[in-house]
């Protein structure tokens, strides 16, 4: 849920360009690494594509708890595909989301930065936890919470650095307001962690080959 739900027109142009440039560099690194590691392996392409389609489909459903929560499963993408392919997957999910009005086009740059952080952090935490616990559910849930908290910190950083246009709130006031949002997001993160934990657990039981180090 740590999508920056800022639509177009909220951030100043200089900030948009800064975040876009950063995101493009991160993406090029992802693409370069994917290309270098496996050049024409259709498995990489197809699995990434179906993760994208499934993640986007899930993003369209509102959970029937707390009046309808949408989850966007970036930590799950990280856990299943790793950080590099995950970066490409979140790019496409963001493009598709912007096309139907969920998040502005200009915001894709900023969203990508924090999504790549979420994907990478969740992936690493999930891998590292394998040494501490054998419970796939726990690993996935903790990885999700840590990933989403990291994403939230990045989000606050991005908004504070950019400043919302026309808002005259001081830095302290801005951070106060954003902390409130972060708190709400944290609540949602707990739900998303449970859901992700269940999903990864389910996948690991049905298809252990798909979750690295599941058994």
């Amino acid at each position: 849920m740590a999508h920056i739900h800022l639509q177009d027109g909220a951030l100043p142009l200089s900030a948009l360009l800064l975040w876009w440039a950063t995101a493009v560099i991160l993406l090029l690194v992802c693409i370069w690494l994917v290309r270098r590691r496996r050049t024409t392996d259709p498995a990489v392409i197809t699995i990434a594509a179906f993760c994208t389609a499934a993640a986007f489909a899930v993003f369209q459903v509102s959970l029937p708890v707390f009046g309808g929560v949408h989850i966007n499963l970036t930590p799950l993408i990280g856990i299943l595909t790793g950080p590099f392919i995950g970066g490409i997957v979140v790019l496409i999910v963001n493009l598709l989301s912007a096309a139907i009005g969920h998040g502005g086009y200009g915001m894709i740059g900023a969203n990508l930065i924090l999504n790549i952080v979420e994907v990478t952090v969740s992936y690493l935490v999930f891998r590292v936890l394998a040494r501490l616990t054998s419970s796939v559910f726990t690993r996935a849930a903790v990885a999700t919470v840590v990933g989403l908290v990291a994403g939230n910190l990045v989000m606050i950083g991005i908004i504070v650095v950019s400043g919302v246009q026309g808002v005259t709130l001081g830095l302290a006031g801005m951070i106060q307001g954003l902390s409130l949002i972060a708190a709400v997001n944290l609540g949602v993160a707990v739900i998303e962690a449970l859901v992700t934990g269940f999903i990864v657990d389910r996948i690991a039981r049905a298809r252990p080959d798909l979750v690295r180090g599941a058994s």
């Binding site: 389910r202 039981r205 049905a206 298809r207």
Partner: protein, 316 residues
């Protein structure tokens, strides 16, 4: 009942019959993208009968089925189930009366194990976990699938999946079970098992069955009544004997007559079978050909062996 080519809908409009558990009255439904679902559809299901809905792909069979348990509501016309009109407030419990087994059973099994899945509907009905578990296991046993209870749906074969999906609906003891293309991707052995299950659902449990299929041979073997559906309306209705010998209706609906009917027609043309008897199963046809030395009204005696073969699933 004589074969009736349903004309304008008003012919059917009227009070709900006494033994009718489902009464669809001139219902129409169009999808948001403009494609036709059903159009002035009149259809009914009586207690304890097996009705086959026969039509080609896209003729409206599945749309009709989704109307029967309230997944869709008709844009005009009405659907009356157990005396309650769908969409009139009372119908939120429709899923208790009409159970649906969808065409793709793999999308229907969402719980981690088969037993959990069969328990799902029972828990929604208010059973305690223990009662639900017991009843779910009993239903699976009845279908001869007790051994798959603990399995994950992913690891089931197509036929087992179908049985699990049927168990999930049957456990809830609805008054009607609708099966959408229950045998479309199964081999003859599994088809025979599903056939036997459908028969037992009706005979042992007294549940009405609605069977959507494009396999007319299957319909001929199972159904008491057949409805030919085309472009969202029923264009012919009657017993298999009546409908499957109605060449024109089948041709209009884009369906091929069962093989038995084709053969019978050839044989009549050559004077080897008596016209006007209309066999629909191989047994009846064989009895026909073996001719007039046997009593054609008792075909079971003539080919008892074949019939037995059918029941055990070695025959088709």
């Amino acid at each position: 009942m004589s074969p009736s080519h349903a004309g304008p809908c008003s012919h059917h409009t009227g009070p709900v019959g006494r033994d009718e558990i489902i009464h669809v009255d001139c219902a129409s439904h169009r999808y948001p993208d403009g494609s036709l679902g059903i159009h002035q559809m009149c259809f009914s299901v009586r207690r304890g009968e097996i009705v086959a809905l026969c039509g080609s792909n896209g003729s409206g069979k599945s749309t009709l089925i989704e109307h029967l348990n309230g997944l869709l509501t008709p844009a005009c016309g009405r659907v009356v189930v157990n005396g309650n009109e769908v969409g009139a407030g009372d119908c939120t419990d429709l899923w208790k009366t009409v159970g649906v087994v969808f065409q793709r059973s793999e999308d229907q099994l969402f719980a981690p194990t088969v037993l959990d899945d069969v328990m799902f509907g029972l828990r929604n009905l208010g059973f305690s976990p223990e009662e639900a578990r017991e009843r779910a296991q009993k239903t699976l046993d009845l279908l001869g699938a007790g051994d798959i209870a603990a399995k994950m749906p992913n690891y089931l074969s197509g036929g087992q999946r179908r049985l699990a999906a049927i168990a999930g609906v049957l456990a809830m003891r609805p008054d009607v079970i609708a099966l959408d293309e229950p045998t479309s991707d199964l081999d003859p052995r599994h088809t025979a098992i599903i056939e036997e299950v459908v028969r037992s659902i009706r005979e042992r449990d007294g549940i009405s069955v609605v069977l959507a299929t494009h396999d007319l041979d299957l319909a001929a073997r199972l159904a008491d009544r057949v409805c030919i559906i085309h472009n969202g309306s029923i264009i012919a209705e009657g017993t298999p004997r009546e409908v499957f010998h109605d060449e024109e209706a089948l041709r209009n609906a884009g369906l091929a007559p069962p093989l038995v009917v084709t053969l019978y027609r050839d044989l009549c043309r050559q004077g080897l079978a008596k016209p006007g008897v209309f066999p629909v199963t191989p047994d009846e046809l064989a009895a026909q050909i073996s001719g007039m030395s046997h009593d054609p009204s008792a075909p079971g005696n003539v080919v008892a062996g074949t019939e037995a073969e059918y029941r055990t699933g070695t025959g088709r």
